[in-house]
């Protein structure tokens, strides 16, 4: 159903580019081509439909159900019988409106924590991750060992690393022994946030390091040689060669980390504990509401978090999109063609270099 309407839209421009034909005189040709490839269009629809079916089941249906659920309130207790009423009352958008009402404190606290964790951890991870990548990229003895060592934290499951850090941040733990001062990390307060940030950065900076390392390895050595002949300092090389060239890889890494950080749940939940205002994130709030059998508000919070994540993703996709093409002379019209035509892009990059 849906597939038949989508396929012509998506395939037409692709075909146009694949054959290297200009897409200017579109209208007369499209009809003839459509007739010629009607069979392949059906074939494409047939091939795509299982994917769409799976997506419908695992993505669209749950979203719609969550959206619907978020319009219902919790079931009330009937004081006469002592039993919970059997139906959930329809409350419209009240669950969303409540966010701005008296009960919204907890939501905005969670929203603030989520945003704070995302901004701080991703910023720290980016700096440390790039540093790790530069170290891993260097050729020296024992490099394999260093690489493996750096990647270990990323390989440890989050729940396990949360337990590990809880042990470190214990009142008698290593952290306090090193500091020589007793800080009760797992109590409420700013120190709890610090504990979460330290554990999160420790765990996920290697991820950024890994992706940036991949980006570093495709930078041709000649570029650096040329820079060295021109007398550029190491810092200038990093700033003007390394950073611009790994930027696409770095941005992908940062995007992934942002989305992950926005959905942070298990680390603060295990490290600091449930019900702790200082570290409660939106995911923890939604889970808590759901576990108290208030699926309506829980869905509403989850939908709001989902929108937040989506917004962030779209913002990044736009950012990535413009950057991957890197069209400095601003020829917007041909942007999409360049991306889809590797030969043209390569030619252009060659010119630029």
């Amino acid at each position: 159903m849906a597939d038949t309407t989508i396929t012509p839209d998506t395939t037409a421009p692709d075909r146009g580019n694949a054959y290297g034909q200009s897409s200017a005189p579109l209208s007369p040709r499209r009809r003839t081509r459509a007739r010629a490839t009607a069979g392949s269009g059906r074939m494409a629809a047939l091939l795509v439909s299982p994917t769409l079916l799976v997506l419908t089941i695992v993505v669209f249906y749950p979203t719609l159900m969550a959206l619907r659920e978020s319009l219902y309130g919790p079931k009330g207790l009937d004081p006469k019988t002592g039993f919970i009423r059997t139906t959930e009352p329809f409350v419209g958008l009240r669950n969303y409106a409540d966010v701005f009402g008296a009960a919204g404190d907890r939501f905005w606290n969670a929203f603030g924590n989520t945003t704070f964790f995302t901004v701080v951890t991703v910023a720290l991870e980016t700096v440390i991750g790039v540093a790790m990548a530069l170290i891993m990229h260097r050729a020296f003895r024992g490099r394999a060992l260093v690489r493996a060592g750096i990647l270990v934290p990323w390989a440890v499951p989050t729940a396990i690393s949360a337990l590990l850090w809880r042990w470190i941040f214990n009142s008698d733990g290593v952290a306090n022994a090193i500091l020589g001062h007793q800080i009760l990390w797992t109590t409420e307060g700013f120190h709890a946030k610090v504990a979460v940030i330290v554990a999160e950065v420790w765990k996920t900076a290697p991820f950024i390091g890994l992706l940036v390392l991949a980006g570093l390895q495709v930078i041709p050595k000649e570029v650096y040689e040329a820079a060295r002949i021109d007398g550029a300092s190491a810092l200038r090389q990093f700033w003007h060669i390394t950073l611009p060239l790994v930027k696409p890889a770095l941005l992908v890494a940062v995007l992934f980390r942002c989305l992950d950080a926005l959905r942070m749940f298990d680390l603060p939940y295990i490290l600091i504990g449930a019900q702790k205002n200082s570290v409660e994130t939106l995911s923890m709030l939604a889970q808590n509401e759901a576990s108290n059998v208030r699926f309506g508000p829980a869905s509403a919070y989850a939908v709001l978090l989902f929108l937040y994540v989506l917004l962030m993703a779209l913002a990044f996709v736009r950012l990535l999109g413009t950057d991957l093409v890197s069209d400095r002379d601003g020829r917007k019209a041909s942007r999409s063609r360049h991306r889809r035509n590797p030969a043209a892009r390569r030619a252009k990059e060659g010119r630029a270099a």
């Binding site: 969550a66 219902y72 039993f83 009760l184 109590t187 576990s291 108290n292 059998v293 993703a313 999109g321």
Partner: protein
């Protein structure tokens, strides 16, 4: 333009999927669940399931095997859920919300009974079919909701005061304290000993989690207050409750309770006691066997919890058996519940896994007392025990208690203000 939107869609599809995993978990149970929870007839025989948390000792499977040998056509399958109570509760709720008959007999934590009964996830049981008269009354009360029996006690648990006999003896104290002021006086004497250098007096479980609710309720009840009254109405804004909370908050402030105790859960406080950091410890009976194996062996024993003007009250722990409202083969289920909660089974659970039995008689059995010397004290503890607040929205009630009690303990709120706020919060969750 067209290509760009398509691209954005392609790129964001995985993100959408990832984001949705979260939304999806909130989306169950849309339609009204729990229509009038069936008739009270218990019919049908055949295989059933028993659902409980992970059985570390293996004794549950042993008892079930005993049943299966006798009833080859009515076999019981043991469904093991994760160890932590929250995920057990969640799985049971999910099962009930989907009205699945996969779970027959549920092992409920004593504080869940009201919630499960009010949602009609569990069936009301015929009282005369169970030997409730032989059980300790506070334990039986945990299985009731609005006067009806909704579960059968299978095991119980009560708090005990662990104390250092070696130090108390050296300081010339022969009897364990029965009041808080006696305890602090004893501490002052003990701390004058060179061996007690750097020790704190008392510890319990004061991290912001369920254990704090237990300890807070114990303090309030031991001072003569209540969290919820006989009708289930919250009543914490009282002088008695304030004296209870102030004992804890004041003790943290003046160092009677060590400062780091606000991060203690059961195990942390046990470690603190075993490593000689505190003289008195409030904990569950399970600690006894472990401490006996540590370097503390022979240097400690137990007593009932102290209170404000005399022996205090413990919070009740333990598990009850309930019958899922959506289960089949209920005649078998009822028989199995009788078998599983019988005195014989309770005695096996006590012997093999040191689970406190609901039956009064077992606490006085000489051979058992020889194995577990704390049994007489535990019996006293349970007899004086008060159930944690019995409200339908227990999850919210316990969060509110943790929130306010923690604020008072860490000094960010006065006890008076904390109790006033708590009273307001609790009223919200019990009013409806």
């Amino acid at each position: 333009m067209k290509t760009r939107t398509t691209r954005a869609l392609q790129c964001s599809a995985p993100l959408v999927a990832a984001g949705l995993l979260l939304t999806a978990c909130g989306s169950s149970g849309g339609s009204g669940s729990g229509e009038q929870a069936g008739s009270t007839s218990f019919e049908g025989r055949g295989p059933i399931t028993y659902v409980a948390g992970k059985d570390a000792s293996g004794v549950v499977q042993k008892v079930i095997d005993g049943w299966n040998k006798l009833h080859p056509t009515e076999k019981v399958t043991f469904v093991q859920l994760p160890t932590d109570a929250d995920s057990q509760r969640q799985q049971m709720i999910q099962n009930a919300e989907t009205k699945s008959d996969a779970y027959t007999v549920l092992s409920l934590d004593v504080v869940w009974t009201s919630e499960f009964a009010a949602h009609q996830w569990i069936e009301r049981l015929p009282e005369q079919q169970f030997p409730l008269r032989n059980m300790l009354k506070p334990v039986v009360d945990t299985a009731k909701y609005r006067g009806g029996l909704y579960a059968v006690p299978a095991s119980s648990d009560g708090g005990l005061l662990y104390y250092r006999t070696d130090l108390l003896k050296k300081a010339g104290i022969t009897k364990p304290p029965t009041t808080w002021s006696e305890m602090t006086a004893d501490c002052a004497k003990v701390k004058r000993l060179p061996e007690a250098k750097g020790m704190s007096c008392y510890a319990g479980q004061f991290q912001k989690y369920e254990g704090l609710t237990v300890n807070f309720a114990e303090a309030v009840d031991s001072a003569g207050g209540v969290v919820t009254d006989a009708n289930g109405k919250p009543d914490v804004d009282t002088p008695q409750a304030r004296q209870g909370l102030e004992f804890l908050a004041g003790a943290v402030k003046d160092g009677t309770i060590p400062r780091e105790a606000v991060t203690y859960q059961e195990e942390d406080s046990r470690q603190a006691f075993q490593s000689g950091k505190v003289i008195f410890l409030r904990n569950w009976p399970y600690v006894y066997a472990l401490a006996e194996k540590s370097k503390m062996a022979g240097k400690f024993t137990v007593a009932p919890l102290p209170g404000l003007n005399g022996p205090g009250s413990s919070s009740l722990g333990g598990h009850n058996l309930a019958l899922s409202s959506f289960a089949k083969n209920r005649a078998t289920a009822l028989d199995f519940m009788r078998f599983f909660s019988s005195e014989d089974s309770a005695s096996t659970f006590l012997k093999d896994a040191s689970l406190a039995p609901p039956y009064a008689k077992l606490y006085d059995d000489a051979s058992l007392v020889k194995q577990y010397p704390y049994l007489p004290d535990l019996k006293q503890s349970i007899l004086h025990a008060v159930p944690r607040p019995r409200v339908v929205q227990y999850g919210d009630a316990t969060s509110a208690i943790q929130q306010e009690a923690y604020a008072a303990l860490t000094g960010s709120k006065s006890s008076t203000q904390a109790l006033k706020d708590l009273q307001n919060d609790l009223q919200k969750y019990t009013a409806q």
